[in-house]
Symmetry: D2
Subunit: 365 residues, 4 copies
């Protein structure tokens, strides 16, 4: 091939999102070198922390965990998978030195709205200017801006599932946006690698629980996306739950149709399935999207069917006698909900085929 | 003790609800003899089918699986844990011979409303008269009628969790009953013992899925309970999901407050937590209930905390800026959602202490 | 009843073994009062740490976590569920004040053999005299001594499963004791409540692993028991593994028969199942044991069948053409492997029926 | 590329091994077309049975399930993933028409030893001649013969893990081959897709059990491999267990060293770790194997670290004071234990790079 391959760096490579980035980039055909860093494990080898990688670095890295500065200096594109509020400085450096940065924290998810970030994340911006360079990295919303961006704010996992579930209906302006209910369920990997009582096997195995009612930080991000999509202020009631499985998010979304759309649906063939026209609207909206599958009638979203892949599956129902839309979406929280989407953004930023290195087929079981 | 102990019979003892009944009744201090039957395994021993019972019959049964007729003839109280539409004949026999019957199927869950039963279960009633003897066996709604009933229709598992989550608010008339959303999640035991692809380990392990949107048979039963409680026709949007765990149901319920109640909440102390008065209302409503625990502020319902017990845990939130009630309830689908509740009904029917034989403390892990 | 009920205390009530002791003793008919202590959570309420106990103290405790000294002063019998090397001081106090102590750590598992304890646990004894009062609390080995003991060393979980699997054969002197292989598998609760990477859901879910080959501290305890039982020095190769489930241990034990017994088996009916006489030997040995079930031919031990109970299930096979014994045993590591056995010891020490408060029937699923 | 890509066919594409073959071959760079058949679902689309494949056929197949005959006629290489005793006829056809066949059943696992096959599988050979064309497809044993074979008998999953654990030691002739103990643990997918009580979620979740003691059909296959490797008759005691996880096998293998080797080990540096020379022997033996990782000291085999990959991880211990070898090996039963190994064989047969299409990196969680 005539073009040059790239050097990628991961700051925070020993967290779960970081480890998934390593796994994806090791097999990515356009990445020739990988630099990895970790504050917790600096100087050690990544294969000691994650023995699954043992012997599998494919010559792209020796696995040595460098400092963050070493990574930003050597890489062309830097992925930051860090606690919220730390990526800004690396973004500033990358912008100044002509590199690209894709951040998996919340730092660049709110555009220029520092106030909302501050309210929910309790931190000020240190480098306000760099936010003007940033684009929200949901390809299904912002593909064109992503292509030319220098800094990407990669979306939250719940947020991706909820936004993709609502986007076509909001764009078609068929929803009452006063109150939309997002009831989400996530696997345990969403809580990260750090061991806590909440993610210990005996505490979350064989158990389903609710958490963060009214206080989860993905609520303002979902609301922001929906408001941008609809052009109106959208009220979101968001409830996350914890499922005893490692991976996967399912979001069940309930929204009332506009009066006009209720009437339109009611005017259709009596006896016809009112889900059909809405599913058609979704299918049409996503018809060119490589990673969204609007399921045919009769198939129910199942997190297993997208596990270990970058796909998001969506099913559409009309319920409550034609008054409400119910959408169920599912994705792998660590791939389409985090690291896969980050690589999808990298592909767009570099003009690589959007699906390059991401065509994992979800295993059946 | 001066009183006589009773003889209990279980028709359908080899299904999951039947096996749980056996386990509970073997240790129930008022049951002296247990008769068990099974169509599938007639003539075999229950301990062959369920080796957990091996050597543990405590002299109440020899474990031999009899015919249904043998059970009805010998027992004082008969539990039927059968596919829908079969219990009627045994109920008829029990009523005529002065015995009591507690049915765990849907046959007696709709009072005298044969039409709804027929619409959802596709069967006619064969013994219409016997339904006049039946009482819906949710003690928190119908305790007094249960005490004198001869036939009990034991509630559905999802239904119990949803009804207990809504009862105080409906009775207090603070909800807009046009549309109430019940988003429920159940462990796999809810699908019964018969092996299917849907309940095989590799198909449902590490996976969360939705099913039965708009078509689950517990929807009309929830709607019926809510309508009775509120005195108005309540619209229910019910969505069940499958969780990769054996036991437990969590229902997350969303309802809009009446305009009047929204105003009342808004008129309270600004800055105060609007959940407090509603939680107080729930706490008050359930203050004498032995098996409902309204959780203190800050505790999130977790199915693990009620597993293997007859308790239902409930937490109450006010969301959407004071416009909506969100209630999360959890119970063990096989105990409070089936066999434990059936024994609670038996206790009431015989004047035993309501908690007799049911004070299992949920294990912490 | 004419006799006085007892006051029980638990030091270390917020660990997993402690929490199981609380659960069992709350329903034990001979315990009228329960005192609980915790170093980590002193001054807080047990129901805050374990919400499963919420409202279920049955008047035996208010749940307040006291100091260890308060517990030893107020209780008649003290259970210590602490890290190794701490219980001695409480045992000394109890012996001096005429109380009884049951220790769930390893402190009293080695009789007067301080050297072995020191080699494996890296600690000296501080109160050597108190060890002369102690008895190893495996009722199937030491029932009579337990009845009159003042201090009990409650056996390890793996150790109980391995010892019960070997006891009848060792007593019958049919095994070559040079090398016995104990291949054990344990659920995650065995690692305790403290969150670590090893017990986090995403690290141990959907994964089976080996650990502690040749270095696990239960090895010398198994060897000691076997040597005592056989009167000879027994060589044990012990390998523990971690299973993705909360509870349960399965031990698969392999031992070569003595030359004499091989000959004896070979001399039986050709064509007959050589497992029969050995199973009969086991059945006979355990025929009066309330908590050991030697399974009938054809039933395979399954940890589910003893879960949440105090039973140990055992199956016996003759393999390798009549040259080897293979025994598989299973128990709930937290009950028969820890807290249930401790209460069984308490029952013996107080002359209560041995099964009092321990007749939990394992649920079928 | 100058060479021609191949057409692959899968007979039995809707079983678990078949579905994994589909997943692997859809992304295999040398496979241009895929034909799939299924007796159970003929005429339907594979994506209906396995919705994970929805939209992901990459132009290699339309997913239509053909007849077996259609597949054998159209494909260059045929994979048979069928019940035992059916593949022979397709092998015969392939040999006669110059095609290649890779069978995942036991039909071709015993070379020309029909008697052993018949004893364990209760079937006669219908096409004895075709067995002369077959090679046992364990690349680590038979790489050169596989390259030129026309029919491959793909090894059993347990067998692969046990054979790889023993091969270097048997070849080095350091083991007493009278009795080798293979204690294996497998995830539930090993029991196949057909729903049974044994593989239902509530029966095998949260439970560990033993099965098939002395009667599992992989025993003679392990014995055969070991006997071939050592040149002597090897006695195998094989015990399989069921683990509550979908994928993964761990085999813990125990063997006594020869007297000579015990002496040799004893003669080394006193105080030195006797595992070192044996681990070195293993490391050396496997140094050029692309899919076997002999772990460095201190790393314990964990099925998670090889999940969804074609790697087999092995760790070596010397136990029992230098008298015994203990080896623990782990692999994904559906990949290196079935479909991945089948594709590895295909690569060898066609002269493709052996790792082509198989370099999946196991995810960390």
């Amino acid at each position: 091939m005539g073009h040059t391959m790239i050097k990628a760096g991961i700051i925070g490579a020993t967290g779960y999102a970081g480890a998934e980035l390593v796994r994806i980039l090791l097999l990515h055909p356009e990445v020739e070198t990988l630099f990895v860093s970790s504050v917790s494990f600096e100087g050690r080898n990544l294969a000691d922390i994650y023995p699954n990688f043992c012997c599998l670095f494919h010559g792209k890295t020796d696995g040595m965990l460098l400092t963050a500065d070493q990574v930003t200096e050597r890489a062309d594109v830097v992925f930051t998978a860090l606690p919220h509020g730390i990526a800004e400085q690396y973004a500033d450096f990358c912008v100044k030195t002509g590199k690209k940065l894709i951040d998996l924290s919340a730092d660049f998810r709110f555009g220029l709205d520092e106030a909302t970030f501050k309210t929910w994340y309790k931190k000020d911006w240190q480098f306000p200017a760099v936010h003007r360079e940033s684009v929200y990295g949901l390809p299904e919303m912002n593909r064109d801006q992503i292509r030319t961006a220098r800094v990407i704010g990669n979306p939250g996992c719940y947020v991706t599932s909820a936004t993709l579930a609502l986007l076509p209906a909001l764009k078609a302006d068929i929803l009452d946006t006063d109150t939309i209910i997002v009831d989400s369920k996530s696997g345990v990997s969403g809580s990260g690698r750090k061991p806590t009582e909440a993610n210990s096997f005996c505490e979350c195995g064989e158990s389903f629980s609710v958490y963060g009612v009214g206080s989860h930080r993905h609520q303002p991000e979902i609301a922001r996306n929906c408001s941008i999509a609809s052009g109106r202020n959208v009220g979101i009631v968001f409830t996350p739950h914890l499922v005893p499985q490692s991976r996967g998010i399912v979001s069940t979304v309930y929204a009332r149709f506009t009066a006009g759309y209720i009437q339109k649906l009611a005017g259709g063939d009596s006896g016809a399935d009112m889900s059909v026209p809405v599913r058609e609207l979704y299918r049409n909206w996503y018809k060119d999207e490589p990673f969204v599958r609007v399921l045919p009638e009769g198939l129910q979203p199942t997190s297993r069917n997208v596990r270990f892949s970058n796909y998001c599956d969506i099913q559409v129902y009309v319920v409550n006698g034609g008054k409400m839309l119910e959408v169920v979406s599912t994705l792998d929280n660590m791939i389409k909900g985090a690291s896969g989407q980050a690589v999808q953004n990298m592909n767009l930023m570099y003009g690589f085929p959007e699906t390059e290195g991401l065509e994992f087929i979800p295993p059946a079981f």
